[in-house]
Point group: C2
Chain length 474, copies 2
C-alpha cells in the first residue's frame, strides 16, 4: 500500500462506517447503508446511537466504538451534528469523511459557523473531508458507491469504465448520477460530486484522476475554480494525454452574480477564463447535455485518433440522405471543420466499385442510390474507401434506423474503422423502435451515436482537437 | 364544396386509387393499400393488373376502369411506368396524383426524360402531381395517410393537431414521419413530403397551410426554394399570424455544391437568404432536431403569448438547482434574451411568503431551500409570483424528475400559467424513469419539455419572437 495517495482513503477504503444509517426506507441514510452493504466488498459499519442493528448488521452508537477498525466514514446527519461526528472520526483513526449533509455555508450564518468548525477539525487532526452538501463519490474498481439515492445491485449494474466525472452543485450532481451514471449513458471509472469542497477540491480530485491509470478522460461541471493556477497546472499536464471537458458557468454579469456565493473563482472576466482554459487544452462546453455527450464520446474512445491530413480537420460525411449531408456540412463548416474534396483515387474507387454509373461521387458521400443498386454492402465499402483517403481525418455517418439494420455490415465497418485509427461518429434518425439496436451496435464498434447533428459535430471536433494536442505533445 | 382549393383533392379526396397496390407484405405498395384500407373513410380502390383482389377488396387492372369514380391516386410503380399511369389517371378524371416512386430527375438522364413526360401530361391534362420521390402526405382531419411505411391504426394513433410539416428529401421525410409523426413527438394537422416537386411545390403547400384553419403553425425543411419572391410573399402574410420555422441548408460553398442538383434556389448567397427569411418573419434553424423541437413548442402553443415588458425579452428562471440557473442564464444571455432583476414587489412577496429568511430572492429564482422548508408548494407559489412581474415575459422551469413528482403542484402551476398568458418552457433532468410522467403533465399544461437547455432557450426565444411579430402586426 506504499503508493497510496491522499484520496485513496476515499476511493478505495479498507472499511467504511455509515454515520446516520437508518432502517427507515424513506431516508437517504437507509439508501446509503443498503447500497453499501449490497455492493462494497470490505467491512461496512452502520453508526446510529438509536439502533442495535440495521438490516441485520450490528449497529454502533458512535464511530469511537470502531476505533482502529475503520478507514473512511460516510456522514449523513443534520449539519449541527457533523462537527461532533468528525471529532469522533478523528479520535477513532478515520482518515477520510464523506459529508453528504446539506445545511452548511449555503444556508447562512449558522451554517457558516458549522462549516468553520469542520475546517478547524480537519486542519487540527489531519482528517480529510469530502463535501459537504453532495452525493459523494462512486468508484467502479474497486467498487464503492456513497450517494444517498438507492441503486439496487449497483456493483453489478455499473460496469467499470474509463470516464471520470466531477460535478459541483448538490442537485445537479444527484441528477447526473441518476440520469447518466446509474442509467448507463456511459460507463465511468469514478464519479465525484464535490459539493461545497470545504477541504478536498476540484484541483485535488482532478490531480487524482490525472494520475489514475483507470481514468482515461474526464468531464467536469464546476461552479467555481478555487485555485486557478493549480487547476491550470493540472490541465496543462493532461493536455494530449487525457481529454478534459469543462462546463463552467458565469459568463455574463447576471450569471456571475447568480454564482456569487462562490467568489474565489479562476479569474475576473470570462474572456480570461476562456483563454486560460483553451491554452491549457481544456475542451469547454456550455450546456449539460454537451458535457454528457462528450462524456459518451470519450468514454467510448479516450485515446487520440490518427490524423492523416496536415491540418487534421478534414471530415467526410457518408450518408443515406442527401439533405442530411447538406445540413451537416453547414454545421461542420460553421464549427470550423473542413469538408474537403476527396482524393482522386478515392473518387475513382467509389465510382468504379460503389456508385451507380450515372452518379458522380463527392463529399458528402451520398450512398442511397448505391445501396438501392447494391445493397447495404455499399455502405461498408464506401466507409472503407473514404477512411483510406489522406484528406479525411474523421467521418460522420448518417445511417437510417429501420428493420433493415439486420442487413447492415456492422462487423465490416468496425474492422475498417479500427484499422484506420480514425475518428468516427454516427447520427441516428428514422424508426425510433430500432434506435437501441443501432446504438448498441455502434457502441460495440466504439462509435458514439447522437440524435442531433450538432452533437455529432461537437464530438468529432473534440476527438480531432484532442488528437491535435497529442500530436503536438509527442 | 364550392370553397375547395386546388390541393383539396390531395388532402381531402372523396375516393382514392392505389396504383401499385400489392399483397406482398415486404413491399411499400402493400403498406400503402393496407394503411389506406384501414384508415381512410372514403372508397379505396387497389389497382394492379396482375391481381383480382387485394386484402379482400376488388382490384382493378387500370385506373381507366375506375372512370368517373375516383378523385385521387397514390402511385407507387417503377418510374418508367409512371407516365402511362398518369395518362390513365387523366383519362379517368382523376384530379390529383401522389407520386411516391423514386428514379426520376435524381437518377440521371433516363429519369429526367420520365420527369419531363410527367410534367407534359400535367400541363396538358390539368392533372395535379405531388412528388415524385417522396412519402406523400398525411392529413389528420379528414384522415388520409399515403406514406409507404406501415402505420397500423394510423387514424386512431395520429390524433388531430395544429402543426403543419413540410419536408423535401425523400429519405429525411420518411425518417421524420417515423420518428416524429407516427411516434407522437407532436400532433400534426398535415405532414407533407414534397419530394422532387415537379408540379406542387413548397410555395403552394405553404399557401394551403397558411389558409388552412386547422393548421396553426408550420415547420419546413427545404432543400431549394424554387420561387423566392412567391415564397417570401406567403411568409410575410404568415408573420404574426402563424409561426413558421424553416431549416434550409446550403450555407457554405461545400454544402451549396452538395445541393447543386437543386439550383433554382431563393438567392445566391446565404446572407441574402438569411436576411430575406428574417425580414419575412421566418424563424430559421440549423439542425433537424431544432426544427422538430420548435415543432413541439408550436404544436403545444401556436398562439402568440402575452408580452408584458416594453422590450418583450425578459426571462425569469425558476429552478431547483442553482448551478442549472447559472448555466441557463449564460445561454439565455448569449442568445440575446435578458434575465432582468425582478420588480421590488415580486422580491418582497418571494421573501415574505416563499423563501427562507436567510436567503434573498433574485433571478434566477433558486427555490430548493424554499422547497426544503415548505414543500413543493414553494415551486407553485414562486411561479405564480414571478408570472405577475411585468419585467418577465417568459419563464424557464428547472424541476427535478423523481418519484417526488406526485407532490408537484401541476394543476396550480397550469392555472397560473394559463391566466398569465405568458410563455413557459421546462427543462427535464434527474431520474429518467420519471421523464414520461413529467413530460405528460407539462404537455397537459401546454408547456414543452426538453432535456437540453439549448432547446429550452430556443423554444422560449421563438415563442417571444412570434409574440413580437403579433404585437407589431396588431
Amino acid at each position: 500500500m506504499s503508493e497510496r495517495t491522499g484520496l485513496d482513503a476515499f476511493f478505495a477504503p479498507g472499511s467504511v462506517a455509515v454515520v446516520g444509517a437508518t432502517a427507515n426506507e424513506l431516508k437517504g441514510g437507509y439508501n446509503i447503508i443498503k447500497n453499501m452493504l449490497e455492493s462494497f466488498a470490505e467491512p461496512v459499519y452502520p453508526v446510529n446511537p438509536g439502533r442495535d442493528e440495521i438490516l441485520g448488521v450490528k449497529c454502533y452508537p458512535s464511530v469511537r466504538d470502531l476505533e482502529g477498525k475503520v478507514e473512511a466514514a460516510i456522514v449523513f446527519v443534520p449539519a449541527a451534528n457533523v462537527p461532533g461526528v468528525l471529532e469522533d472520526c478523528a479520535a477513532a483513526g478515520v482518515k477520510a469523511a464523506v459529508l453528504e449533509s446539506g445545511g452548511f455555508a449555503e444556508v447562512g450564518e449558522e451554517g457558516k459557523r458549522i462549516d468553520a468548525a469542520c475546517r478547524e477539525i480537519a486542519a487540527r487532526t489531519g482528517l480529510r473531508l469530502w463535501g459537504p452538501n453532495c452525493t459523494g463519490l462512486v468508484n467502479t474498481d474497486p467498487f464503492i458507491f456513497t450517494p444517498f439515492m438507492r441503486a439496487p445491485d449497483a456493483h453489478e449494474r455499473l460496469k467499470p469504465g474509463t470516464l471520470g466525472i466531477i460535478a459541483q452543485s448538490g442537485m445537479l450532481a444527484a441528477g447526473f448520477m441518476l440520469q447518466y451514471v446509474i442509467s448507463g449513458y456511459f460507463t465511468v471509472s469514478k464519479a465525484c460530486a464535490i459539493g461545497n469542497k470545504i477541504d478536498v477540491n476540484e484541483v485535488e480530485v482532478l490531480e487524482y484522476m490525472a494520475s489514475d491509470p483507470k481514468t482515461k478522460a474526464v468531464v467536469a461541471y464546476l461552479e467555481s475554480i478555487v485555485d486557478g493556477p493549480a487547476f491550470l497546472e493540472v490541465t496543462r499536464n493532461m493536455a494530449g494525454r487525457k481529454p478534459l471537458v469543462v462546463l463552467k458557468g458565469g459568463r455574463y454579469e447576471e450569471s456571475a452574480k447568480a454564482a456569487l456565493s462562490h467568489t474565489a473563482s479562476l479569474a475576473g472576466s470570462d474572456d480570461v477564463v476562456n483563454g486560460a482554459l483553451h491554452q491549457a487544452g481544456v475542451i469547454r462546453v456550455h450546456d449539460f447535455q454537451e458535457m454528457m455527450n462528450l462524456g459518451k464520446a470519450f468514454s467510448l474512445h479516450p485515446e487520440p485518433f490518427r490524423l492523416s491530413s496536415p491540418t487534421g480537420d478534414g471530415v467526410a460525411v457518408v450518408t443515406v440522405t442527401g439533405g442530411g449531408g447538406v445540413v451537416l456540412t453547414d454545421l461542420l463548416r460553421s464549427s470550423g471543420l473542413q469538408v474537403p474534396a476527396l482524393e482522386r483515387k478515392t473518387l475513382d474507387i467509389l465510382q468504379k466499385d460503389v456508385f451507380p454509373a450515372w452518379m458522380a461521387p463527392s463529399n458528402p458521400v451520398d450512398i442511397w442510390p448505391a445501396i438501392e443498386q447494391r445493397g447495404f454492402n455499399a455502405f461498408g465499402d464506401s466507409i472503407k474507401t473514404v477512411l483510406s483517403d489522406d484528406r479525411v481525418d474523421g467521418i460522420i455517418l448518417l445511417p437510417f434506423a429501420s428493420r433493415m439494420l439486420e442487413y447492415f455490415p456492422f462487423e465490416d465497418i468496425g474492422e475498417a474503422v479500427h484499422e484506420s485509427g480514425k475518428a468516427v461518429v454516427s447520427w441516428m434518425f428514422g424508426d425510433s423502435r430500432y434506435f437501441d439496436t443501432l446504438e448498441e451496435h455502434m457502441r460495440d464498434l466504439g462509435i458514439p451515436v447522437y440524435q442531433d447533428l450538432h452533437s455529432c459535430v461537437l464530438a468529432l471536433k473534440s476527438y480531432l482537437g484532442f488528437a491535435h494536442q497529442a500530436r503536438n505533445k509527442s
